[in-house]
């Protein structure tokens, strides 16, 4: 298993090994607590290497409980890694584990189609970049078929040549179309796969489910070796799905399958009453929470204290029934009908829930179904970095470095998910007992989401004036190095209690204005800062993103031990230190020569 194997208890993922399902999990009876009575599904899956050395297929399914079953449904995914390298196995595993975790982390307000396709697009990007960066030139390619059962609806998402079938009333129907291109009689090529290209077209379909439907997902090692009629008969022959998977496996082997063999079967035993059409309509109608006073209770959460209020949102400290303190963030009524704001607010909670890092605050599922729009995070007791700076700055150098290191860890967790924080400031950092924790994702930028056309025009975030990198305001391209800039401002403040550029920085709006302001050496305010550390700060604080560090780890390294290049005094060429003086000097010299020549000619 690779790094993606952190599984949630209700996810069943199986790769190289034969499926062994926990008895408790099978068959899974998933019931919705609130709006709808139970959606009951019987399920079995199997994935075998077959005659190959290694199993490059991955199968998995997730049966959530509680509100997530109503809003997200049951997800069943199958993937077949392409090519003969070990990358193929990793690709299929990545695809299945990621879809089963990230899909459930998408905001409740998103439609199923929107959620799944955004997640698939981001997986595609990830796999593609893995292939690009792979030293052994291995391609991370995989097929992916995803079936989502939600209330009385089903959704299919499909790329490649794995298949989804439906058996209804004795008729077996293939719901997906193989993405194959026939070259000649004997050779067909996969024409579409995850990780093949940056742009990806996903086949999506939405259908009604009925009681008694049987769904079958398979890879080509199975369905290429069992014909349609046999498959139909087999599926009708028994109601023991577990046994069926084994029979199909044996049959494919007997028919000469040389490939990995994977199959998943799901039978809908009960769909309950029809579900609400889609989460978007449900959640967008969720009213904004009223302004809460201490002592009031909303959805079983009692308000203990108002932590912070601004023009855009309220943040409360709340307590659950069993006494766990949590932080509740509610949108401000000022934006009640502002679609862009609501979208951003909902996305905030999504971004938090797809990260698992000690230095990034955890988003918590509400204990009861939401009746209002809000989200919950764990409560980190402790002062914000603002308070720490106000009370203790300048911090001892070693403390500041330690805090910076933790900040870098938190930020890198975001960057690994292709997310930029965009609004790093001391107010958004809590110094808790377990170290530093980032607490606000209100301004985050997520690759893959922003590229998709959205009917809602997004607000343009410019960050917080004193902390956001200059490129936000002068309109240059932003990236991971923009977060690096903000981090360096925080570090500088911890060391000195001052801003590296002084007051002028908050006022500058255009590139020429930014180029005029000067970095103030940290030594000016705190003589204990080593010269080499100051250089590292200055580099990370370059106005031009290109002049900052390539990656955060380099910066961190330069903070922790002297960069040998910087031990001696500055040896910058005059051209870099005073470019304008050089040019002025040159121009002056030119004029002097010209004048000299004139005089020379005139006096002759």
């Amino acid at each position: 298993m690779n790094a993606h194997s952190e599984q949630t208890p209700d996810a069943l993922v199986s790769g190289a090994k034969r499926v062994t399902m926990d008895e408790n999990n099978k068959p899974k009876r998933a019931s919705m607590e609130h709006l709808q009575p139970s959606l009951t599904i019987d399920f079995a899956q199997l994935s075998e290497a077959g005659r190959k050395d290694e199993n490059q297929d991955t199968v998995g399914a997730r049966f959530p409980e509680g509100p997530a079953l109503a809003t997200k449904g049951v997800a069943i995914a199958i993937a077949d890694g392409v090519s003969s390298s070990s990358a193929a196995r990793q690709a299929s595993q990545t695809a299945v584990t990621a879809i089963l975790t990230d899909y459930y982390a998408t905001p409740d307000t998103w439609r199923t189609g929107q959620s799944a396709s955004r997640v698939i697009h981001s997986i595609n990007r990830y796999l593609w970049s893995q292939s690009q960066n792979n030293v052994r030139q291995e391609g991370y390619l995989t097929t992916l078929s995803l079936l989502v059962l939600k209330g009385d609806k089903l959704f299919t998402f499909h790329v490649g040549d794995s298949r989804i079938y439906r058996l209804r009333a004795g008729q077996l129907e293939q719901l997906t179309r193989d993405h194959n291109q026939r070259i000649d009689k004997n050779t067909t090529y996969l024409s579409r796969a995850l990780g093949a290209d940056l742009s990806l077209e996903i086949d999506m379909e939405s259908l009604e489910t009925e009681r008694g439907d049987i769904y079958l997902l398979s890879t080509d090692g199975l369905h290429d070796f069992i014909d349609h009629r046999t498959l139909t008969e087999k599926l009708q022959s028994s109601s023991d799905l577990e046994a069926l998977t084994h029979q199909l496996h044996q049959l494919a082997l007997a028919n000469g399958s040389q490939d990995n063999i994977s199959v998943q079967i799901a039978r809908v035993d009960d769909i309950g009453t029809p579900s609400e059409s889609d989460a978007i309509t449900v959640l967008s109608r969720l009213p904004f929470a009223p302004l809460l006073k201490t002592g009031q209770t909303l959805d079983g959460l009692t308000v203990e204290k108002i932590l912070h209020e601004s023009e855009r949102s309220q943040v409360y400290l709340v307590k659950t029934v069993d006494g766990t303190p949590l932080v509740m963030k509610t949108p401000s009524v000022n934006y009640e009908d502002d679609a862009a704001y609501i979208e951003r607010f909902v996305r905030e909670s999504w971004i938090g829930s797809r990260l698992a890092n000690r230095h990034v605050v955890r988003v918590v599922e509400p204990p009861q179904t939401r009746t209002c729009l809000y989200y919950l995070t764990e409560y980190i007791a402790g002062p914000t970095l603002t308070q720490v700076i106000n009370e203790r700055a300048p911090l001892p150098v070693s403390d500041a470095v330690e805090l910076a290191e933790q900040l870098v860890m938190g930020i890198r967790a975001l960057h690994r998910k292709d997310t930029l924080h965009q609004d790093l400031k001391p107010d958004n950092v809590v110094v808790g007992a377990q170290g530093i924790c980032l607490v606000d994702f209100g301004s985050c930028w997520v690759a893959g989401i922003e590229e998709m056309a959205s009917p809602i025009a997004a607000d343009k975030i410019l960050g917080t004036l004193n902390y956001s990198a200059p490129e936000y305001r002068y309109g240059g391209p932003t990236g991971q190095r923009s977060d690096q800039f903000s981090l360096a401002v925080l570090m500088y403040e911890m060391l000195t209690g001052k801003h590296p550029f002084g007051e002028a920085y908050g006022k500058a709006m255009s590139l020429p204005q930014f180029q005029k302001i000067k970095y103030r050496s940290a030594l000016q305010f705190n003589p204990l800062v080593p010269v080499w550390m100051d250089r590292a700060l200055e580099k990370a604080l370059s106005i031009q993103p290109g002049q900052r560090y390539e990656v955060l780890s380099e910066w961190l390294q330069d903070l922790k031990r002297p960069n040998p290049n910087w031990l001696t005094n500055r040896h910058k060429p005059i051209m870099e230190r005073h470019p304008e003086k050089v040019w002025k000097g040159l121009a002056f010299a030119g004029w002097a020569v010209a004048a000299g020549l004139l005089v020379f000619i005139a006096t002759r």
């Binding site: 967008s284 109608r285 009213p287 904004f288 009223p290 302004l291 809460l292 006073k293 201490t294 002592g295 009031q296 209770t297 909303l298 009692t302 108002i306 932590l307 912070h308 209020e309 601004s310 023009e311 855009r312 309220q314 401000s332 009524v333 000022n334 934006y335 009640e336 009908d337 502002d338 009746t371 209002c372 603002t386 609004d423 400031k425 001391p426 107010d427 209100g442 301004s443 607000d459 343009k460 975030i461 410019l462 960050g463 917080t464 004036l465 004193n466 902390y467 956001s468």
Partner: protein, 491 residues
């Protein structure tokens, strides 16, 4: 950290400090804007003015404010409230100095006209206060800002006549007015140094463009267009008033140029409105939850027309009214009594908003309007035979309802359509100024008694209109005894 109650005296909080800073800026704009009103006899004497000329001056004072609001709104979008407010104060101060040193009626008229720009200060502060206060406090904070700021006209009426007397001599009034100008200039610097556009460390969003108002049905589109016409009509009437047909400040040719400019402006605005609503007009469906009735905006427009419009008109003429009605009253006393009208601003305006929040929008608005109707009809009966204290009480009674009505209007503005609050507030505010120009134009034709009567009549019509307003719907939350919150959906 935040608390549930807003403590206006807690100067350790940055947003309270900003609120005080801002309302005082607004206060000064009002002092400067109405510095001429209590000094009427002195100014008229110095320039040998006719009554008609004086009344024209009063109209000129409020005319430029109507277009200025739009310009100031755009400037705030572009440069932020802090610098714009500072510049407005400084510019107002300079024009005030120019007014104080005017040597002819033409100069006087020109500078009064330009001073109308200062009246647009309201817009800036509302934006600034909105940035600094969370939803829980913003209503009260804006009430304090608006109410205490409007009190500036009372302060001017109260102090300037006395100040003029202290300076003494024929030019005493000039020094008094110049003092307010200097004050504004000095404060503009102070404001710039101390105020900030957003709270420290708050995330900065690129401000949204405020163009035409979006409407959600074709009928509303034409309704909206029609509702814009009164602004141009009243400015055209003003141009006519200044033409040779009126006080002859403008030549016939210039008057035609004015008409032309107004026509162009109107065409431009209509094209902007069309641009914003193009999709809707071409049949793009408007989502059900996004629909709203323009009728609501129109009624609020007219409500503000009568309330704020009459307030501006009355504070312009009241000191002189007292002086002329009651024989033997001193200038200082007349000024002080004239201030009685704006005095109620301190409590009535925030109070009106509060009552509207608590007791239902339509009902409270109806009551305020009945009150102010009675008030204006009473004022129309005031004569020299009345004891002065009775007159003062009538004025205060009337002004209480006028200002409570203003508060109630602005409490309802954000509820029409949250997303469009800025534009709705802009239009309602502009109608306040249209009201002022209209009432002062009427005043230029009639005596004070009839003038009050006309306002009372308008208020009666408004009473009928307000009955058509719909209570904003939405989710209501109820707090149970144990503190838990249940939500009741209103349909």
């Amino acid at each position: 950290m935040s608390s549930e109650k807003l403590n206006l005296l807690d100067a350790t909080k940055a947003n309270i400090r900003l609120l005080h800073l801002t309302w005082f800026a607004f206060f000064l704009t009002f002092v400067v804007w109405f510095s001429h009103a209590p000094l009427k006899p002195l100014i008229m004497e110095a320039f040998n003015m006719s009554n008609a000329q004086w009344k024209a001056l009063l109209i000129l004072n409020v005319a430029l404010t109507i277009p200025a609001r739009i310009v100031v709104g755009m400037l705030v979008d572009k440069f932020g409230p802090r610098i714009v407010y500072s510049l407005l104060l400084a510019a107002g101060g300079l024009m005030c100095l120019a007014f104080a040193s005017a040597q002819s009626y033409e100069q006087l008229a020109l500078f009064r006209f330009l001073l109308g720009f200062v009246g647009a200060g309201f817009v800036i502060g509302i934006r600034l206060v909105g940035e600094w206060f969370p939803a829980r406090h913003v209503g009260l904070a804006e009430g304090v800002y608006g109410g205490w700021g409007n009190f500036g006209s009372a302060a001017a009426a109260f102090t300037l006549p006395t100040l003029a007397l202290i300076y003494g001599g024929d030019d005493g009034w000039r020094y008094a007015i110049a003092t307010t100008g200097m004050l504004a200039i000095i404060y503009s610097v102070f404001f710039y140094l101390r105020a900030r556009n957003t709270p420290q460390g708050s995330t900065y969003f690129k401000p949204k463009k405020t163009g035409g108002l979006e409407v959600t049905s074709k009928r509303d589109f034409y309704f909206y267009l029609a509702m814009n016409l009164p602004m141009y009509i009243i400015l055209a009437v003003l141009a006519w008033k200044l033409s040779p047909a009126g006080v002859s400040l403008l030549s016939q040719g210039t008057t035609y140029v004015m008409y032309g400019i107004l026509l162009l402006l109107c065409a431009y605005q209509f094209s902007q409105i069309y641009k914003v609503n193009k999709d809707m007009l071409h049949g793009a469906p408007v989502p059900e939850h996004d629909k709203y009735k323009f009728k609501q905006v129109a009624i609020l427009d007219w409500a503000y027309f009568v309330t704020f419009g009459s307030e501006l008109a009355v504070v312009s003429m009241l000191p002189a009214f007292f002086l002329e009605t009651f024989e033997g009253m001193s200038l200082a006393a007349a000024g002080a009594l004239g201030a009685a009208f704006a005095f109620m601003n301190l409590v009535a305006r925030p109070g009106g908003g509060y009552i509207s929040d608590k007791f239902g929008r339509r009902r409270s608005m109806s009551i305020f309007i009945i009150g102010l109707t009675i008030g204006y009809f009473t004022l129309s009966q005031v004569s020299g035979a009345w004891p002065v204290w009775m007159a003062v009480i009538s004025v205060m009674f009337c002004s209480f309802f006028v200002q409570a009505g203003e508060g109630a209007v602005f409490a309802m503005v954000p509820l029409v359509k949250r997303r469009l609050t800025g534009q709705v507030a802009g239009m309602v505010g502009a109608y306040g100024n249209v009201g002022a120009v209209t009432f002062l134009t009427i005043y230029s034709f009639v005596d004070a008694g009839t003038f009050f009567m006309v306002i009372g009549g308008c208020a009666l019509v408004l009473f009928g209109l307000v009955q058509l307003i719909e209570e904003p719907k939405g989710h209501m939350h109820e707090v149970n005894e144990d503190g838990s919150i249940t939500q009741i959906e209103l349909t």
